[in-house]
């Protein structure tokens, strides 16, 4: 297959997979085999695309003109490849996990669940490979809409109100802020093509106008969960845990920060933005989100809610890194997308495993659970270590680059924020690990062991990957470097 066909395959495989899953709804085994097959085929297609992109090629697929002068077009570039690789790879793991979780909890409407999941992946691939803003916006909206049935999966009053917040904030920000920003960009720049160096450089906008446009983008991309548009993410936690794990720790939120990085790098241009000073306010907002969300996480007793606020905080690491506007920090932003994805999916997998095996949802109920579920809580510890930034877990790597970038920019506020937040991360994760392994379990509880094996297998795998990433860092780091435009030998982690 040519590279263009591979791009088409990356979009078509999950979409077709969704159709087949819907058709096979009556036969659960066939349905789940199809999901796994689609996931594997998607990952293979993305992998096959990788060598060309690493070699510097930018394969394209121009589908057709949506509006005169603006095409639906796709281009595989390093940042998108990194995102596509993470999302498609984790889809396989997550599918295995989903089978265990959905069967273990005897969930209803499983066909709708798997079909929407595949559609969500198709939309994610569209975002990752989009060659222009309009294409990205199209799939960005599609992702919101196809994940809504997943968020409201249980259909009860809680799911309904969670779904309202989810849809209200995501559609409200994207239609209300992002769409005008895209149209304004079209009006000012005359193009929406993602171009290295940015397309707004020659539009002759004043500093104030650029800052306003940037604000429209940053808050318009609600999926990046910058405060105060972060509330959809905790609301989305009413969804079944596999949804929270892959979509609301990886695909959807990463689509948000991915879009943020894309917009800063390819629409505004790092140098142009740094020169204009229009982004000076952004690190402060991102820093505030990091600290504030960490504090909320610290005070949340519900495990999934704590993880959700941790995600809000970690997403702003990426925004902060991109907003520092140095090559190193942009590379850090790209790398953190991958590192956080691995760590956070592990944590969510663990939360789902605890719910499935023990029916527990609160942090305060977890005393001594590590002895009954050693694999799960071991993986949880690894994921937590990664997010705190303890070597050798993956999160250390991106945090290290981020510190370097902040130092090279001389941005002391950023360094302070990173330091404080690392302490806070430790404060909201380590007590869980401590309680799980070192406290006595309260007496009189029904005995339980580990969750069903697909769940355990999936979370052990992602935990292992978290630990392995720093040793197999070539591919992600290579991609991250070329996003930032750093020659291959420019940084040494």
């Amino acid at each position: 297959m040519t590279d263009s066909q591979l791009i088409a395959a990356a979009l078509a495989v999950p979409a077709t997979g969704a159709g087949l899953v819907a058709l096979a709804g009556r036969w659960p085994d066939a349905r789940e085999t199809l999901t796994l097959a689609a996931a594997a085929a998607l990952f293979a297609a993305v992998l096959a695309l990788l060598p060309a992109v690493l070699a510097g090629a930018r394969p394209e697929l121009i589908a057709w003109d949506l509006l005169p002068g603006i095409a639906i077009a796709f281009r595989a570039e390093p940042l998108g490849m990194l995102f596509a690789l993470v999302a498609s790879g984790l889809w396989i793991v997550n599918s295995i996990y989903s089978i265990g979780y959905m069967r273990g909890n005897k969930e209803r409407n499983q066909t709708r669940f798997y079909a929407c999941f595949a559609l969500a992946l198709a939309a994610t691939m569209g975002i990752a490979l989009a060659a222009n803003l309009l294409t990205m916006f199209l799939f960005y909206e599609a992702l919101t809409l196809v994940t809504w049935p997943l968020v409201t999966h249980h259909g009860d009053a809680e799911a309904r109100s969670g779904g309202r917040v989810y849809l209200g904030i995501l559609l409200g920000t994207s239609i209300g802020l992002l769409l005008p920003a895209v149209i304004a960009t079209w009006a000012f720049a005359g193009t929406l093509e993602f171009t290295p160096g940015g397309i707004l450089r020659d539009a002759g906008l004043s500093r104030g106008a650029l800052a306003a446009l940037l604000a429209l983008y940053m808050f318009g991309i609600g999926k990046a969960a910058l405060m105060p548009v972060h509330r959809w993410l905790p609301a989305a936690m009413v969804a079944p845990t596999p949804v929270s794990a892959l979509l609301h720790a990886v695909a959807v939120v990463k689509a948000g920060v991915f879009a943020v990085v894309k917009v800063i790098v390819y629409v505004f241009g790092v140098d142009a933005l740094a020169g204009s000073g229009a982004a000076d306010w952004l690190p402060a907002i991102a820093g505030f989100t990091i600290i504030a969300a960490s504090i909320v996480a610290l005070r949340s007793d519900n495990l999934k809610r704590r993880l959700a606020y941790s995600t809000v905080s970690q997403l702003s690491y990426v925004v902060l890194a991109a907003a520092l506007l140095t090559p190193l920090s942009v590379a850090a932003a790209a790398l953190h997308i991958a590192a956080h994805a691995l760590g956070k999916i592990t944590l969510f997998f663990a939360a789902g495993a605890i719910y499935t095996a023990a029916g527990k949802t609160q942090v305060s109920q977890l005393d001594g659970i590590g002895r009954r579920m050693p694999w799960t809580m071991g993986a949880f510890a690894v994921g937590a270590a990664s997010l705190i930034g303890i070597p050798p877990a993956a999160g250390f790597l991106s945090k290290w680059l981020l510190f370097q970038g902040a130092a090279s920019a001389g941005h002391w506020l950023a360094i302070a924020v990173l330091t404080v937040s690392t302490v806070l991360n430790a404060a909201y994760f380590l007590p869980i690990v401590h309680a799980a392994f070192l406290r006595e379990a309260p007496g009189g509880e029904p005995a339980h062991g580990e969750a069903p094996w697909p769940i355990v297998a999936a979370l052990v795998f992602t935990a292992a990957a978290t630990l392995a990433l720093p040793f197999a860092v070539g591919v992600p780091l290579g991609l991250a470097r070329s996003v930032a435009g750093i020659p291959p030998a420019g940084i040494s982690p």
Binding site: W64, D65, L66, L67, P68, I72, L134, F137, L138, E141, A142, L145, P149, T152, G155, A159, R160, G163, R164, L167, G168, L171, G172, I175, G176, L177, L179, P180, I183, A184, W186, A187
Partner: protein
């Protein structure tokens, strides 16, 4: 047949079909005649659209009296665009009407329904094709009189009162229009619109001409349900038979918008309408109020059909908002939204017609858990609803894109913000349906008879598919609208 005769043939086919259907006196042949006539008009309109895109406007002198003495049928890119919409929707709704009207009306009087349907189609097509201002009035009355009867056929007795109210307001509107034409005739001595435009350029600022502009504006605005002249619309749409609602919502108000465009830009000219008189400011203010109030009122309706009727008033506000910008983008937006909204609202009313067939009416109490018993209908409503919101990948997005672009290029940021903010109200009212249909448990009043018959579902889904198709392939809709906008601004 040659291209010169097409403008007349488009109109004549349904006009002749009406008495034929009447003479048939039985439902099936009448329906076949009506469907064939609509289909013929659609093909002829498509041929015309091809013709005018490549070769410029086509003119046909009725009875071989050359214009400006005789009545001229004149089809340019704008009128061809509207002709395609009207005849296309008529062709799609006709098969739907077979199943829907058969269920809603007495069988022995069904042939009358099809005769009236043909008359209404002929009237709307005639309004669009004619180049003669008085002939336009005649066709306007043909369309209006037949639609009054069609609305009065609704099962609910409130349909009668709605039809009566529409008759009174519609007649006032048409009479205002004809007063305006009378004043213009007094000043120019011609009824041919092109001729009129040429002669008006010298005397455009005289008081009778300004009065004519005022009368025509008010008269046509009544017909197109511009706020605050929209009062006839919600009841008429709610209580009319489903097929009639779908057809009128998709085409009736749209043709009136066309007439407004034709007179503002084709007859009076931008100088008098936009520079001497504050028409664009007035239109802008009315559109803004229409969008906000109608959207908010829609949000609280207890009946989906009525909700969609109020949404129509808001959507017409978007069209007139585009007109008020009077820029290339604004007019493109207005014309493309006229087309896109016609398709989208047509699809929605057809689907709701299916619900009404199974449930008696489309109150929200009958929609609880509807997705389980009528999955295809529910999915269609969601997709067309997304187009109404303006989600990317649907026709509505294209309209919204040009509207916001027009606002931004005019430097009116508040207007851009207003347009996107009000689309969010559309999200809220569409999601009322989504939550009821998909999340609520199956209600006691929800119809359990399964999907609507295929004869209703297939036409509805054709329009649903069209509202997605024109969100991806805009080569026809946007380019046609852009050409029309360029023509209007010449």
């Amino acid at each position: 047949m040659s291209a010169e005769q097409l403008p007349a043939l488009v109109v004549v086919a349904p006009l002749v079909a009406a008495p034929v259907a009447l003479l048939a006196r039985r439902a099936l042949p009448a329906w076949m005649v009506a469907t064939a006539a609509c289909g013929f008009s659609f093909v002829a309109a498509l041929a015309l659209a091809v013709q005018v895109t490549s070769g410029g406007a086509v003119s046909y002198a009725l009875g071989s009296w050359p214009p400006p003495w005789g009545i001229e049928y004149r089809v340019d890119v704008l009128s061809a665009f509207v002709l395609v919409l009207v005849s296309g929707v008529a062709t799609v709704v006709a098969p739907f009407a077979w199943a829907s009207a058969s269920a809603e009306l007495e069988r022995e009087r069904l042939y009358l329904f099809y005769a009236l349907y043909c008359l209404c189609v002929a009237g709307l097509l005639g309004m669009t094709a004619t180049g003669d201002a008085f002939n336009l009035f005649v066709f306007m009355e043909i369309a209006s009189l037949s639609s009054y009867v069609l609305i009065a056929l609704g099962r609910d007795r409130r349909a009668l009162l709605s039809a009566y109210q529409y008759l009174v307001l519609g007649t006032i509107g048409a009479t205002f229009y004809v007063i305006g034409i009378g004043l213009l005739y007094l000043m120019t001595g011609t009824l041919n619109m092109a001729d009129m435009a040429a002669r008006l350029s010298d005397i455009s600022s005289t008081r009778p001409v300004l009065a004519a502009l005022a009368f025509i504006t008010v008269g046509v605005s009544l017909k197109l349900a511009l706020f605050p002249l929209h009062l006839w619309l919600p009841n008429a749409y709610t209580y009319a038979p489903s097929a009639v609602t779908a057809f009128l919502a998709a085409t009736g108000t749209k043709v009136s918008v066309y007439v407004l465009l034709r007179f503002y830009f084709g007859v009076f000219g931008t100088r008098i309408v936009l520079e001497e008189l504050p028409m664009s400011q007035i239109l802008l203010a009315l559109s803004v109020v229409a969008i906000v109030t109608a959207s908010l009122v829609a949000l609280w309706q207890a009946d989906l059909k009525r909700l969609l009727a109020y949404s129509s008033i808001a959507q017409i506000g978007y069209i007139t908002l585009g007109i008020s910008m009077a820029s290339r983008e604004g007019l493109t937006a207005a014309v493309v939204h006229l087309f896109n909204h016609g398709i989208t609202k047509g699809a929605l009313f057809l689907l709701v017609g299916g619900v009404a067939l199974r449930a008696g009416h489309a109150g929200f109490d009958r929609l609880q858990g509807l997705a389980r018993t009528m999955p295809l209908t529910s999915l269609g409503i969601v997709i067309a609803g997304l187009s109404l919101i303006g989600t990317p990948g649907t026709a509505g997005f294209v309209s919204k894109w040009y509207l916001v672009l027009g606002a931004i290029e005019a430097g009116r940021w508040w207007l851009a913000a207003f347009i996107v903010a009000t689309s969010l109200i559309a999200v809220a009212y569409i999601w009322r349906f989504v939550e009821a249909a998909y999340l609520a448990p199956l209600g006691g009043a929800t119809p359990r008879a399964g999907e609507a018959p295929a004869a209703m579902l297939v036409p509805a889904w054709i329009l649903v598919a069209a509202s997605v198709w024109f969100g991806f392939d805009t080569s026809y809709s946007v380019q046609g609208a852009a050409r029309a906008a360029a023509l209007l601004l010449q």
